[in-house]
Subunit: 356 residues, 4 copies
Amino acid sequence: MSGNTFGTLFRITTWGESHGKGVGVVVDGCPPQIPLDETIIQTMMDRRRPGGSVASTNRKEPDKAVILSGVFEGMTTGTPIMIMIHNKDADSSAYKPYADIFRPGHGDITYQAKYGIRDWRGGGRSSARETAGRVAGGAVAKAILDREKISICAYTVELGGVRAQKRDLSVIDSNPFYCPDAAAALEMEQRVLEVKEQGDSVGGIVEIAAKGVPRGLGEPVFDKLDAELAKALMSIGAVKGVEIGAGFEAARKLGSENNDPITPEGFLSNHSGGILAGISNGDNIVMRVAVKPIPSIAIEQKTIDRLGSPASISIKGRHDISAIPRINVVCEAMVSLVLADHLLRNLSINVPEYFR
Amino acid sequence: MSGNTFGTLFRITTWGESHGKGVGVVVDGCPPQIPLDETIIQTMMDRRRPGGSVASTNRKEPDKAVILSGVFEGMTTGTPIMIMIHNKDADSSAYKPYADIFRPGHGDITYQAKYGIRDWRGGGRSSARETAGRVAGGAVAKAILDREKISICAYTVELGGVRAQKRDLSVIDSNPFYCPDAAAALEMEQRVLEVKEQGDSVGGIVEIAAKGVPRGLGEPVFDKLDAELAKALMSIGAVKGVEIGAGFEAARKLGSENNDPITPEGFLSNHSGGILAGISNGDNIVMRVAVKPIPSIAIEQKTIDRLGSPASISIKGRHDISAIPRINVVCEAMVSLVLADHLLRNLSINVPEYFR
Amino acid sequence: MSGNTFGTLFRITTWGESHGKGVGVVVDGCPPQIPLDETIIQTMMDRRRPGGSVASTNRKEPDKAVILSGVFEGMTTGTPIMIMIHNKDADSSAYKPYADIFRPGHGDITYQAKYGIRDWRGGGRSSARETAGRVAGGAVAKAILDREKISICAYTVELGGVRAQKRDLSVIDSNPFYCPDAAAALEMEQRVLEVKEQGDSVGGIVEIAAKGVPRGLGEPVFDKLDAELAKALMSIGAVKGVEIGAGFEAARKLGSENNDPITPEGFLSNHSGGILAGISNGDNIVMRVAVKPIPSIAIEQKTIDRLGSPASISIKGRHDISAIPRINVVCEAMVSLVLADHLLRNLSINVPEYFR
Amino acid sequence: MSGNTFGTLFRITTWGESHGKGVGVVVDGCPPQIPLDETIIQTMMDRRRPGGSVASTNRKEPDKAVILSGVFEGMTTGTPIMIMIHNKDADSSAYKPYADIFRPGHGDITYQAKYGIRDWRGGGRSSARETAGRVAGGAVAKAILDREKISICAYTVELGGVRAQKRDLSVIDSNPFYCPDAAAALEMEQRVLEVKEQGDSVGGIVEIAAKGVPRGLGEPVFDKLDAELAKALMSIGAVKGVEIGAGFEAARKLGSENNDPITPEGFLSNHSGGILAGISNGDNIVMRVAVKPIPSIAIEQKTIDRLGSPASISIKGRHDISAIPRINVVCEAMVSLVLADHLLRNLSINVPEYFR
């Protein structure tokens, strides 16, 4: 049990259910004297908001983040930072039919099996709303990374079968899918509308790149940087795969192709994704995650009810067609949390006045 | 720091370098009264041994596991189980040239950057030899899983670009690559010999399936079963990608294709890979890992030395052409560790006499 | 860092400052299906309230606990339980003079040294108000212990030099100090009034007894039950000593006096305090803590300001004369947290269907 | 479960039973480039050896510590340091009679209750021999503290009822009890011989002082420095009480007596024991532990056997009369472990180049 805490030194604990009183996060281990206020957090929260693209519902979720502790006169104090997001717009009656029936592809059946009880309103704890706490915590992590000139960017490289053919990061803010290929973005929009029409949903692939990460982060042999990133990203609800650098393509390469030659000016390629033997090598850290299609679809599906009897289900209402692009900022948040934690963990080695 | 411990309740700590006095593992949290002896462990260790296929070196590494504590009269006692494997056949002189030069694709450069010192003999801690401790620990985990009728099997589904076209697990012990497609196995052998001739190396994909896993394992929202498996597998040196169930293919499916319909007799498909919302659903747990090609190749490569000057390197000697199939048992070990740990963690919820 | 989380499986994370927006606790790892509501928590919170005795201030701190997550239809769901207590009656102006001066006996000087910043309003995070989160979390732990028929009681055995001569637990609710000796309680009241008159403060000793604890709790060799209890109790602000069973008196006994003889009916004495080799033996667990006098006193004291210049200080206002008896329920809470956690930890060993 | 690991960043895991193949420790999280060899460790191990005083048995336990990993060319490498002490002189036949009977004051009955199985040879895991791993790990911690000019000293202030009347640390190496009062040491020797004659045993009190500890160590609110020290010390088998600074005497003081006045030159007294609000204040850290008398005595005692039938027991053979003075170095080791861990933990806050 106790799976709601993430990190070793920079550590978050999230809480809250979709239709309860709110969701939130306690950030513990944030160093003191980091400038922080609600605006910094809200900027990141806003990117998680629905309504930005045709793939997302029009539900109103203002997701107003409130800092309740740990900040004094605009600075962190080294004590726990509690950030709460009150729930609004939560009419649970639409979920009443699903109180006694398991939605395919959702955690309804497994939560019931594990706990013998579940808050079915809006998906309860297994709702994507849970990620609001992650993003708020990630915003604090990002404040630390900013100081170190580390930047993290998540962008959509595939959606509904449409692949980005290039990585032009300058255009990701000009299209609703944060896609680094403007033409592909238009196709994605087309594809999403088409699928929406059918009452179906789509998946895709998000790539996350971290720039400016110093060499030396990661703690072999189990808390390797790539291992920790894999856990962080796979813990996001819709994610079914994680790869670093060349990833699954590396399985098809020869050693002579996959190795990154080293020169005095740096690596000549980055198939490693910036991590060697679990430790950052100073190059960009590049990852991709596979995002499954949203399981809530209007098309009728077979299922069973709580008594085990066969049933059928068709999920109506305001649901996203894809977790992309709202999931992108969640990926950024999770990567930020890992990097901030490992920055702090690495301090215990790397400090001249103490140990060199 | 302190990244050499894995697990929450069933927990291993590994230690040792490739050419030091030995490698080993301390298993803490193993329940008492589990039958255990060195034979049980050795059986699993032997599958990690080189020499089984053309992809592996002929080095002699008997990897004899010795139990030094925690077992009394053939049974675990609930106290820490220390298992040691003495190192043999460790002539470090072959590595002397690499003391001051960084092998591409290896951790030489990152260990040097992080610690400012490294045991270069045989790769030191970043050697694949480190996995011997994982396998020994995994054998103890497997003894627990055996009791619960949970079985885990890792097999090769792609090697050097050759893909298995079927999943006939009955043939995996009849070919050197643990490949579930006998014809593909022959092609794989051909491909490996070809690449060996060129002084190069190959990567591949290993699939791991766990059968008999009860429903309810996994601790949302961060210690979800898939998140923990992802970390476990990505922490293995050569692994660059992890996917669960449909994995990256899920990104290309529609919701109506990807959702697994539920019937009173069970799920009609298993795109989820046996995990919903981070909790096992009773179906088989299926994962795949991308294994990069062995970075030690005879072909000359560009690199730098410790002073940052350009250099070139050609790595001769007895090296594997692929981490597959020796890595397969390591994957099984890591999955076993996660499942044993989560079996124990789940006990704190699920017990009638205490809480129901 | 990250020192605001306590426990392994049953785990609390507290947050909040004395004069911030509130204080609270996230309880993670609480088993599902435990009946819980705000009334259960409030009952325990109320015992922490000031105003019950002459030793405590008359400040109004209603300490209204609100459950924000993790409970559905009156039952825990296995997800994190967030409990918040809004701050009220917080006029920080009285603390303004202490923003730049260090109060002797307080954490002002050490928080400043460690973090380089501190929320001086009401003592910030180092205020006794922080314990409200512990008590709320302890109330949840107590709900678990209740099921197991484990009861915990803290009572005052010494205050301002006045010692209880007996352990008559039937009278502890009839006097303001929870003292098991009615006559001593009267003397204590006298003593406290006397000291209050002088602008000074007093310390004392609280004994905590846990009844009904099953045999087998505690995880050697470091997480022994007594070691965990010692940490739990010593982490309370005013506590300077912890002893188990005979405690410091055991140091003066012979082995033949201190050993507890074992009979088929049980132990003939309880010098061990119910714990042998770090594991509960089925007898009552008995501990005592030394509580230092409240450092905030009206008597003038020497100190320095933030620039290191000499200063003098006399702390006026509504301050407790002793942390006793308000600290008693905090002791109960901490002991409850340890026992609930170890009940859950022990489940991973002791379960027939899995391992016997 | 998993109670055999101690520490957060500087972390030890101990293993081994009294009459098994050996005992040992894995130290994880030791920073690289710390000079370390077996001589450094052996020096500390030798102080744990029996035979130094009339209070200890004459058994031969050379306790030869061997480093098996983590050190390269005389320096730590940042990888796990495994230190093993092979067991010798282990004739278990003397313990055969106690295989089915519970020795009062020992863990026999609780280990049996918890695990349903126990290695009764020499006390198994609950033997004081387990502390050899702690001392070896503590020696590594001390190597870190040495760099920071932090020194730790444990000395006997009470034994068998005889109290040291002064703290003359210059004499502690000149008497077998490490007593800072030469005259009291003679009385202690007398007292021990007297009790030995009676087949009985004695307890006592050890004081530990740490000098040179920088301000700022300790992580409120649960991992306060005093809380962590209390756990560390209480986890030692014979310890039944821990106090910091004035400790239990603080309970009898007035606030005006107990507060340590602050001046530009430092604190005018040290009733706090060098810790305020859980954070070190730069003054000496002073603790005391109550050590119970050795439970193995020749005098006949009542007990029961494994079937619950009444029995009587008289424990003959070579047993210490008191855990003092052999326990002293174990106390030093535990305090060293806590301080080394908190030095590293504090680095994540306090570093100009990163956060100020």
